[in-house]
Structures are given as C-alpha cells and as structure tokens.
Symmetry: C2
Subunit: 454 residues, 2 copies
C-alpha cells in the first residue's frame, strides 16, 4: 500500500485536450504542482498534451507504480488488461458508472479482473489520493478552484469524493496541514478498513478523520478501529443514517449503508469520536492541534460579556466544569485589573480591555492549578485591541501546557486574525458553542486514553 | 422613540483625542461615515478634535435630538443634568460601571435623574444604535475594524453589545442588509419590550432578531412578542440558560436572567423562532430573504453524492419530507440527463454535471407541484462548473416562487461564489445541516402564519 501513496512513476489514462475533463485536470495538476515522480499521459488520439508526449496505451510505456484511470466506465476493463500485460500492480479508478449506476454486468467484469490478476484497485467512482508530502495528487479539481493544504499530520479517509474535497479546500483556506487524503468510492478492492489499517502505522499521521456511509466488513472494521484509536484519535462522520439517507447513499457509492445502531455500538466500544455533521467534523479536526487536557475544568476569558454568557451555557450543557478562581490567582490579577471589572471565571475583561489585560488573564489562567483548558473569546473589533494580542495566544498554544481554543466572531478584520492564529495551529471558531463542543471532544479522547492506559 | 433612531443633531460627550477611546471612535465614525445630521463634540479639555470645534459641555451647544455619553460612569449624572438644563430629551449612555459592577449608589443616582426629569435613556453599558438608512451610528468600533452592512429590512435588538457587533460585522461581510441594530445594555429606562414595540410598526423592518439574557416585565414582553410575531417573524437567542450562565449574565448587564422555562413558554405561545446559538441565529437570519414555503416537501439537488446523503439525513431528522419525483417531472428531465445519472429526489447530478444539467434540474424542481422548497448543493470546485451557474440560482431566488437555500462547501474559490449569491439575497451555507435547520425554521414560521390566519 505504501507504493500507492508514494509512487515513483504514474500514468494517467484518458487525458483529454479539453481542460474541463477529469483526466486532463489530473494530468495537469500532477505536472504543475510539483509531484516529483514521472508522469505519463495516455490517449491514443493525441501525440502530445500540454507539451508532453502522449502514449496510446498502458502497454506503450515503461512499467509504472500507479495507473490512474479516467476513461468512461465501459473502457475500464480493457485499460486494466493493458496495464496487467505491462505488470502494473496498482490502479486508481476515478471513473464512475458501475454499481452506483446499477451497471451490474460491468461491475462483475471489473471484479473478475481484480480477483483473477490480484491487482490493487482504489475506487472506482472516487477522487483517489492526495499526499501533501510528495504532491501525488489525483484530485480532479483544478488548482485554481481548490487550494491544496500544507503538510500536517491529519489524514482523511472518505467514502465521498465531494466531502474529501470540502475538507481539503477548507483546510487549505485556514492553513491547516493535512497528510494523506483518500477518497475510495465503491471500494471493490481496497476498502475503508484497509486504509485505516495502513494509517494506523503511518508515521506521518497523528489524527485520522473518516467520512463513512457504509462498511464492507463490520467485524474487521471494529477491530481495526479499536486498535487504531488507542494509538491516535479517530473522528468519524457517519452519513446515511436515516432510511431515505441510506437510499441516497446507495445511489452514491453503490453500497447499501449498514445499520446506524451497529455503527453507534462500534464507535462506542472503540472510543472513537463521532461528528454529527460537516460543521462539527471540521471543528473537531481543528481542536486536535492542542495537547490533551488533564480534566474537564474550563477557564473562560472574554471582552464581550454575551460571548462569556453563551460559552458558559454551552459548557454546562456539554458537562464541562467552570471552577471558581483560587484566591491566589485572584490576588495575582488584582493589581492589574480596574475596579469596575469583576475577577471571576468566566472572566469578562469588558469592552475596554487592552492587550495587557488579556495577557495578565491568559497568563494566570494558563498556570491556574484548577483549570485544565482555556477558552479565549476576542472581539477584535474593539478599539483597544490590536494585533499584539496574537503573539501571547500563539505562545500559549505553542507551550502545549493546556489546550486552548479561540472564539473570534465577526467579519473581514476579525477573520484575518482568525486565519493568522489558525495558520499557527491555534484552533479558532466564530461562535462559542463550536469551540465548547470541540473542547468537550478533546476531553473525551483524553479520558479514553487515560482509561486505556490503566 | 422615532427621534432616537432619526436624530437631526447629536452630541458626543467625552470625545478624547486618543483614537483608541470610545468617545473618539463614535465621533470619528459619525463624521466619516456619512451621517447627515449635525454632530457636536463635547470635551472641556480641548478646543478642536479631528479639525472640528469642541465644546465644554452640553449646555454650551444648541439643543440636540440625542446626546451620546461616553465618559467614566461617575461623571454621567452631571452630564445628564447639563443636558436636562438644555432641554435635551434623549440620551444614549455607552459608559459601563453601574449595576453590572455592583455600583448601587451610582445606579440609584442615575435612576433618580431618569425618573425625576422624564428623559429617554438607552443604556447604560451598551453600544447604542446603528441605523443603516441615515448612518446614525454609535457603535464604538472603528470603521476599519468592523464593516457596516447595507440597508435591508432586518433589525436587531441585543442586550449584548458584543453580540450586536458580531452580527453587524458578519452581515456586512456577506452583503446582508440590516435596518436598525440596537444594543440596550442595562435597560434602566428603554427596555427590550419598548424596542420590540417600536419595531413592530417600523416600515423599515420585516424581520426582528433578538439576543436576550433577561427581560424586565415578562407579561408585557410576551404580549408584545405575540402581537409582533403575527406581523413579522421574530428570531430569538436566549442566553444565560444555565445557573452558571445566569450568574455570568448578571455580571454582564447587571440584571438577573429570568427562568428559561418561562421564556420557553413565552416563545411557544408567541410562535417565535428560537435559535440555540450564534451559528444558528445567523443561519436563520439568512433564510428569511426567501418567500415562505407552502408545505414541508423538500427537493435536493447536488453534484456531490455525500452532500445529498447528509442533506437527506438532516431533512428526515428535522421532519421535512423528501417526496419522490412525479412521473411527468422525470419525463421532462430524461432527454437531458445522461443514462448513468439516476433521476430522483435527492437528485445527484454526479461530479461531471455542468451548468446546463443544473439548470434543467433547477427548472423542474422549482416548478414541480409536489416540492415546496429546494436545497441546492454545489461543489464549485468541479471542472465542469462555472460562474454561469450563479445567474440561474439568483433568478430562481428572485422569482420568489419557492424558497431556496444553497450549500457551498470549500475554500477561497467557492466562498467567492457564496458571497456573490449572498449579496443577491440567496442564503448560502457551508454545510447541509445548517441549510436544512434554516429551511425547517422558515417552514415553522409559514405554518404559524397559516394557523393564525384562520
């Protein structure tokens, strides 16, 4: 499987001259975005494409590590047979039009080839692989329409290409690093469990995110899930929960989604974290840049009272504690805080708070013995707040003493600061409930880890 | 009250030369952002500020419609007495440091003046008013740190200045028009019910959004809520729900928040829509640009299968129907849809869908007899999708035949299209569950209106 993620040479089969076609985009992305392996274009109709030589078939080129297939479904079996004649072992089939379109005959033909010749196939009906390390990238969305994120130790396994796309694009936009993203589509050969099992031992992956509609082998899946989650956190979004959603999932990747109750049980025994929707999934991804908390005592700092009130409501709702401040911590703050500001937890620094007041509060909260994690709310719109607040927050996060999350509501000005924090591995949210839910998940994983050590 | 929103002349008391001080920012915003009334700066220490004449007190200027007070709390009573000597009737007290700081003596002094001289006071401890029509704007956040939205018929009443700020800024960022935004702070005189009662009959307000921690007079509030919601939809975010949250609310605006159960009952009898958090609040604001649906039958269109599956799950969860397509609608689509695409609801146009396929689907769904509202999911990253898809979506929304919502997940490229749609009154979301929850709220208000007509 390592070869599939790190090919030294690849071929793209079905590279059209039309730049809105999938094969063209993949070929173009590979040669433009710094992939350092050799890339062959295959299309019998052309001699050159984008100034590169074009070959008539997989038999006309030297053996490659991976063949990427983007031709209409009916041509896929013959392309595979060509590749097999040239001893090619690994294939990513982008093309759709198999089980998900009720094309049983073609599906059987494909399965038969896979089983007879023992080849490795990812797909069909998928967007394949993005490896940010070596820039191996079969995602058929043009570079100008979709940014690629920097390298980071979060990997994504997605049954849906669209969801993988949404995550890659948003991560890139926020400067959040990803390692490997795999969209595996109909999973006729390599499936979700195989991928999970690979990432379990992948040194370049610390956090695994999965979007699932169904699994092929529930028992093996649960076993690997359990083993993997003990080593690194897994966050799962399960879609196709409702009957009607299941039908939609069937049309989507050609597989009937399994019973949600069974999934729930599997998630529970494995201790994996479930995200209920795409918003939550993305929020949870962000929080894992932080160290695990020692407990569930939350400190809240804000310069907007309403944000503090809402954060408190949500913290109670999600069963986090908001402890009173210790006397020594209050005493430490007193000399620096104006008398009209109440020193408490939540700590409302009030609207005229400046960077110094934030720094004092942050310093005490980050060191307070009875606080395990810190939520910082900032209205960057305030006249007395400046960009000088960024550094103390980034440093607090970099110390990895306690997890922090930052809530920054607003528009363009505020978003600019949120992006800077995000690029420095500080999780930012635009509403308190999103941060609180994420901190809760971080705490749940920390608890799971503690219980499994004993 | 009309005069408070539409003053012909105002004075800002406490205009410092320091540009990070509240009084300075308010004065600067008023003279820079096109407010067309007369503006006086008051500060005994200076002759001019920002090139304008500066006056020693409210007695030294002609009578103004509204005095905006931004001096330390202890000076507020004397400033009021100066204004009263000059027959000034309306005051916005920005300054904090009263009940919320446990300053009972000062609070009593202030109350005494209000009651004795029958003046109208908004605040203290608030950001006051933004009227986008005449640019009367006491929001003490500098223009470069916080954009102001265009005019639109949504008005905001917020107990918290910070939450008002977050909404104004985000609305501006998305091009969503607002009418009047009022942050009323401690509400010692003008309270939430007075403001609601005013907006009930305000021609420039079609939708009312409230952020509440407490109310002064529950019975009157419920009565006005009921009357108003029959005329125009009210969306409320109630914070300070939990005991600990209530305490935080007390420190915030100096008033004990009332029992959440009582609020719940009041919201239910009035038929108002409750938002559970800031994310939901903003999502619901957006959907009210759309006409009310005739029923709860939802049509879903997508070029990403996973988005369709998640949208379906959420629709079922929120009790919307996803009807089968009628035969005549399927027949109408057949000639234009490739055979590998299944014509159904949800309608997955698949990843190679172009603008024409979307237009055909949208046209049939917008006219289908058994569909009341339409959710359009678009991965704008797809090579075959172009900006030409914007126009059919904007036109469908402008026809006001059925409500639509658009889900656009992704990064910079996709967000650019989402912003364009948003500026054209099309509600956009970055995840299906946000759109579905919002459509559900729109349906609930439509049902409330229907039941209250009979």
């Amino acid at each position: 499987m390592k070869r599939l993620f790190n090919p030294k040479s690849v071929a793209v089969v079905g590279v059209s001259t039309n730049s809105s076609k999938v094969g063209h985009v993949i070929f173009s992305n590979l040669i433009k975005n710094g992939y350092d392996g050799k890339v062959f274009a295959i299309n019998p109709k052309h001699k050159t494409i984008l100034g590169k030589e074009c070959y008539p078939s997989l038999r006309a080129i030297p053996k490659v590590d991976v063949a990427i297939i983007a031709v209409p479904a009916k041509f896929v079996p013959n392309v595979l047979l060509d590749g097999i004649k040239n001893n090619i072992k690994n294939y990513i089939i982008i093309s759709g039009g198999f089980g998900e379109s009720n094309n049983t005959e073609l599906t059987n033909k494909l399965m038969n080839i896979i089983n007879t010749y023992k080849i490795n196939v990812l797909g069909p009906n998928c967007i394949g692989i993005l490896n940010t390390k070596n820039k191996f990238d079969t995602v058929f969305f043009p570079l100008h329409k979709m940014d690629r994120p920097p390298f980071g130790k979060i990997s994504i396994i997605s049954q849906s290409g669209g969801i993988a796309t949404a995550i890659i694009d948003k991560a890139a936009n926020l400067g959040i690093g990803l390692s490997k993203v795999i969209s595996y589509g109909n999973a006729y050969n390599i499936n979700e469990t195989d991928l999970l099992n690979y990432l379990k031992n992948d040194d370049e992956t610390n956090v695994i995110v999965m979007y699932l509609e169904s699994v092929k082998d529930g028992r093996r899946f649960t076993k690997i899930l359990k083993e993997t989650n003990k080593k690194k956190p897994i966050i799962i979004l399960k879609a196709g929960k409702e009957t009607k959603g299941k039908e939609a999932a069937k049309t989507h990747t050609g597989s009937m989604s399994s019973d949600y109750i069974a999934f729930k049980a599997s998630f529970k025994t494995s201790g994996v974290l479930e995200a209920n929707n795409l918003t939550d999934l993305f929020n949870y991804i962000k929080i894992f840049s932080q160290p695990l908390p020692k407990g569930k005592n939350l400190g809240i700092i804000t310069n907007g009272g309403g944000l503090g009130v809402m954060a408190t409501d949500e913290a109670i709702k999600h069963k986090l504690n908001i402890p009173e401040l210790n006397k020594e911590d209050i005493d430490m703050l007193k000399p620096f805080i104006p008398s009209y500001v109440t020193i408490a937890n939540p700590f409302d620094l009030v609207a005229d708070a400046d960077v110094d007041r934030y720094k004092r509060a942050l310093d005490v909260f980050m060191n307070a013995k009875n606080i395990d994690m810190v939520l910082i709310n900032v209205l960057f719109q305030a006249p007395s707040i400046s960009e000088q607040l960024l550094n103390p927050i980034i440093e607090s996060s970099a110390n990895r003493n306690k997890p922090i999350a930052v809530v920054i509501p607003g528009g363009r000005w505020s978003e600019a600061f949120a992006t800077i924090l995000s690029m420095n591995n500080v999780p930012t949210y635009d509403s308190p409930e999103q941060a609180i839910k994420s901190l809760r998940k971080l705490y749940e994983y920390a608890r799971f880890k503690r219980l499994n050590k004993k």
